[in-house]
């Protein structure tokens, strides 16, 4: 089988056989959002105003929680060494790993988001915008997160360091996405924010696999 397809199948198999890694970030996403109505106010007006920020922050943090798993096991068991010295492109294999991370973390968040939107009294139009921003934004979170994961791969318990490295890079996505939802709630045009999210996605697609491959090479030396 082709290396890229077999990497995708391998990643999905390992994750499905270890469902805790798959379920924990999703549970975190649901639990965090469901605590806000209890702690702030159950009123629809207040909740629908803060909903975009809440859902996006929860999505960002749950992706962050799962980043450690992208390379950690393969670094420990030596698969990354085999990948690094193989004649295949490390960057492309990393791109596949980011994609499978998105399928396992980002995509379930996108699919769960309408339910979370309803929970926080978002109207139908805003829920559609929320899903659109998550659909374009979460792949960037996985791609940028891969850079962080490859930088800290050799360090034990580096969760905080990973957050410090990655969160500043997530901020533009957070700002554009939550602003798109708020603007659409107020009835304004959101093309600008969506285009910016696409630009960030394209940049992440082009750069992150190569940066991650270089970082892994340094860590394997």
């Amino acid at each position: 089988m082709n290396i890229y397809l077999s990497t995708l199948v391998r990643e999905l198999k390992i994750s499905i056989r270890n469902p805790s890694g798959l379920i924990n970030p999703l549970l975190f996403f649901i639990v965090t959002i469901s605590l806000f109505p209890l702690s702030i106010s159950p009123e629809a007006k207040i909740l629908s105003e803060i909903a975009p920020g809440i859902i996006w922050v929860a999505a960002m943090l749950s992706v962050l929680l799962s980043l450690n798993t992208i390379f950690h096991y393969d670094f420990d068991n030596g698969i990354l060494e085999q990948l690094s010295i193989s004649h295949h492109s490390t960057a492309l294999v990393i791109l596949i790993k980011s994609f499978s991370h998105w399928i396992l973390t980002g995509l379930p968040i996108v699919l769960l988001s309408p339910l979370m939107g309803l929970f926080l009294f978002l109207d139908e139009n805003s829920i559609q915008v929320l899903m659109l921003t998550l659909l374009i934004g979460t792949p960037s979170l996985s791609l940028i997160g891969t850079i962080g994961a490859s930088l800290i791969v050799g360090i034990r318990s580096a969760g905080m360091l990973l957050a410090l490295l990655i969160l500043p890079l997530y901020i533009p996505i957070l700002i554009f996405a939550s602003s798109a939802i708020s603007q659409s709630q107020a009835g304004f045009e959101i093309t600008g924010q969506i285009l910016w999210l696409i630009v960030i996605l394209l940049f992440s697609l082009m750069l992150s696999p190569f940066i991650s491959a270089a970082a892994l090479k340094i860590n394997l030396d």
């Binding site: 290396i3 393969d74 068991n77 698969i79 010295i85 004649h87």
Partner: protein, 199 residues
Amino acid sequence: MPVFEIKDLSCQKGFNLLFKDINFTAKESDIVQVKGANGKGKTSLLRILSGLSEPDSGQISFNDSLSDSDEYQKDILYLGHNPSISVDLTVIENLEYLRSLNNTDLNLQSLHALKKLGLANFQNEFCLNLSAGQKRRVILSMLVLSKSKIWLLDEPFTALDSLGIELIESLIKHHCDNGGVCFFTSHQTSSLNVKELVL
């Protein structure tokens, strides 16, 4: 005409100079045992030869291809200390993935390699349930399938029983009799006719 050439190779880890200005040549069919006390740099040397680590100075070439070229990488099979298998995958799934990463003979079935290594009955077993020796045999199955000309084996006999050691030695001999080159590290005395590289 030497096919594999190490020129003025030096390696330092931290403040520790592991080896300096190593010069070595190996021809087709040479079996090279890298020897040295613990901490002398045997693993570091094999990692440099595989292209995983950069040397502090010197260069390595195989048939005039330098170690950072694609041609060189295609000719390398490196089996290190790490098991290179995932415990959540079955034996056959792990072997198939290792095959897709390396340059292997597509005419040979993975099951053929597992049979040879005595793992035929375990092909659908999760690697989590295997013993240390059996896990080692999963990655050593690559020796049956590999088409790479240079084998770099770091302690290949670890965790193997005496029959397993004999089998690996016969695979190394078969590879080198067919024009391959093999570098391996081991503290055991080998029954193979080896050329020594002492660090």
